[in-house]
């Protein structure tokens, strides 16, 4: 029993990091109906920002969370201006945007791999190898801290969306773009800002990922399907759904890893993705992707 609890707690800690990783993805989908396949590589970009800040000036990765967020958000604005601006007015979803973001992912992957090569990296602050014991249960500090930071950021995001004027505008746009426009919401600005926020969230997740997982540029291909499974289970466009989806799948995959075989733990995500897409495409809380 204690051992199960142990596995579940480790799964939950990672689950919150996953939740932060996908919150930006689901926000962008909610507002713009873009399935951003470039999201995972943006996370890796954030991880690289954090990594180099740590290597060059010894900045703690947790402190570099805002910096990574700003850098990636800025990158997001550039991408948005270059690629999505002219289609931003249409809510109609097309396969084209999926292929466009797929191309973007390849472009960024190529650039990162060209400069940094596909070698495994991990940021190693002093707490990265430590663990805290509560009774018989241990939690690695890296996962504990990253989980806590993720919870903080997601809570801040939820509060922002719920109570700020701009947050209301974002929610209005994602519910019904035309009506939002009618009541005076500047939909174009909302799209740009939510894309930037979404990318910023990817950057902040990257800073945390940099000391939780080892990363290299082409790793994002694997993450695409993992992250899609989390948002699709929760329902695309729903942040609550993304958090719940992330927690469920993270715990299940930890259980598989502990009681069956670590080699098959990622299979949980892919199978879940496949099954949910085909039998309940709207997921637990969201809208149908098509």
């Amino acid at each position: 029993m204690m051992q199960v609890l142990q596995v579940v707690i480790l799964g939950l800690a990672l689950g919150f990091v996953y939740a932060l990783m996908v919150s930006g993805l689901t926000l962008i989908f909610g507002v713009m109906r873009i399935v951003n396949l470039a999201h995972p590589i943006l996370i890796i970009t954030g991880a690289f920002v954090s990594y180099w800040l740590f290597i060059l000036i010894g900045l703690d990765p947790i402190l570099s969370v805002p910096l990574a967020a700003i850098v990636v958000a800025f990158l997001g604005i550039v991408l948005y201006k270059l690629v999505f601006e002219k289609d931003a007015a249409k809510q109609t979803y097309s396969e084209m945007t999926v292929l466009l973001t797929f191309g973007m992912a390849m472009v960024i992957d190529g650039i990162l791999a060209f400069f940094f090569h596909n070698t495994q990296r991990i940021t190693s602050p002093s707490y990265a190898t430590d663990a805290i014991f509560i009774g018989e249960i241990f939690i690695p500090t890296a996962q504990l801290y990253s989980g806590l930071v993720s919870v903080t950021i997601i809570t801040a995001l939820a509060l922002f969306l719920k109570y700020s004027n701009f947050g209301v505008a974002i929610r209005a746009t994602s519910q019904n773009r035309t009506s939002a426009e009618l009541v005076g919401v500047n939909v174009k600005l909302v799209c740009l800002v939510s894309f930037a926020i979404g990318c910023g969230l990817a950057g902040s997740a990257g800073a945390l990922v940099s000391f939780v997982f080892s990363f290299f540029p082409s790793r994002h291909w694997e993450w695409i399907a993992i992250m899609m499974s989390l948002v699709v289970l929760g329902g695309m466009g729903s942040i609550t759904g993304a958090v719940i989806g992330a927690l469920i799948l993270s715990v299940v995959s930890s259980l598989v890893s502990a009681y069956y075989s670590p080699a098959w733990s990622t299979m949980v995500f892919f199978l879940a993705l496949f099954v949910v897409l085909l039998f309940r495409p709207q997921g637990l809380f969201g809208v149908r992707v098509d």
């Binding site: 292929l99 191309g103 190529g110 990622t266 199978l271 897409l277 098509d290």
Partner: protein, 332 residues
């Protein structure tokens, strides 16, 4: 008297550029391996047979992705299935993939039919994502499956031909597959089946209302598009002499199929051919100039974005819109 009437009523064969140029090209391609009599030109043979491989695959992809409008970025599962099927039989029973390639294609087709029944229930982004998920599932399964060598895959024996002739069997096998795949694509384009398929890509519900058996048609198209990809996978396994999950089940192969087809013009018969030739020249140029595969990924992505944003109809489609398409490329 009657004899004369019969002969004169025969239409004199009208040879125009539409038939002559492709036939001349085909003859040239059949004759090309003769360069090996004048020294070792394995690089030329390699590049051309690599083009055959990808024309086969992007033409096949075009059936479901171009005519049907179902974008699959995991279509190389069929490539991998074909390769592992024939590779396994070769390693275990010594039967060369040249004999089992069509069987491998058939296995891929049957598999494609079964998968299509499940995944083609959804369309749009859901379908794209499920195709990626399928690829990932295959990658994991084959990475762990001990019977087919897990992550190390299967190593196959080399053929015993002298080095300058060793690529020639693969050359002709892939040439045949390519011609057959183009022919299949052409027949689908000009058949009632293809018409139904294109109707489905425009509006699935309206097609259903007009009495088209939507489900059967799209699943059949998916299965058809798997056949030559699977067969090509078998030949490619023999060519590489090893079958490994990290070579056959990578998303970049599917990305290339998609890009080649979109660049050339999806939904046209000659589009995938032109797209593949352009991409392969482009890739060889980059490799020769800069020698870095990272740059290749970068430029492939960039090309995909530029094509989608500025020439969504692709080369053949854009030329056709402006009435600039040479007649010998206009196959519908």
């Amino acid at each position: 008297m009657s004899n004369i009437a019969v002969t004169s009523s025969q239409p004199s064969p009208k040879w125009d550029s539409k038939q002559v140029i492709p036939l001349l090209l085909l003859v040239a391609l059949i004759a090309l391996p003769a360069v090996q009599f004048f020294g070792n030109h394995n690089y030329v043979i390699h590049v051309v047979l690599f083009a055959f491989l990808y024309i086969t695959m992007s033409s096949s992809w075009n059936i479901i992705g171009g005519y049907g409008g179902f974008i699959s970025i995991g279509h190389n599962v069929f490539f991998g299935i074909g390769a592992f099927f024939s590779g396994f039989i070769f390693a275990r029973y010594g039967i060369s993939p040249f004999y089992t390639a069509l069987l491998a294609g058939l296995v891929a087709t049957v598999f494609g039919f079964a998968v299509g029944l499940i995944t083609l229930r959804v369309r749009g982004p859901s379908f794209i994502i499920s195709s990626i998920a399928l690829l990932m599932i295959f990658r994991i399964v084959f990475d762990r499956w001990e019977l087919v060598g897990a992550a190390h895959g299967i190593t196959l024996p080399h053929n015993s031909l002298p080095v300058e002739w060793s690529k020639v069997p693969h050359y002709y096998a892939l040439l045949i597959l390519m011609v057959a795949a183009i022919f299949l694509s052409w027949s689908v384009r000009h058949s009632k089946f293809g018409l139904a398929l294109r109707a489905i890509s425009h509006d699935e519900i309206k097609s259903e209302v007009t009495g088209i058996n939507v489900r059967m048609i799209k699943v059949t198209a998916f299965a058809l598009s798997a056949f030559f990809i699977g067969a090509a996978g078998a030949i490619w396994a023999d060519y590489l002499t090893y079958v490994r999950p990290n070579i056959f089940f990578i998303i970049l192969i599917a990305a290339n199929m998609v890009l080649m087809c979109i660049l050339g013009g999806k939904g046209t018969v000659t589009g995938p051919i032109i797209g593949t030739i352009v991409m392969i020249f482009f890739n060889e140029f980059i490799l020769a100039q800069f020698g870095a595969s990272e740059l290749n990924i970068f430029l492939t992505g960039l090309l995909l974005i530029i094509t989608l944003l500025y020439f969504p109809e692709g080369i053949v489609g854009s030329l056709k819109q402006r009435n600039l398409l040479p007649r010998f490329l206009d196959w519908g």
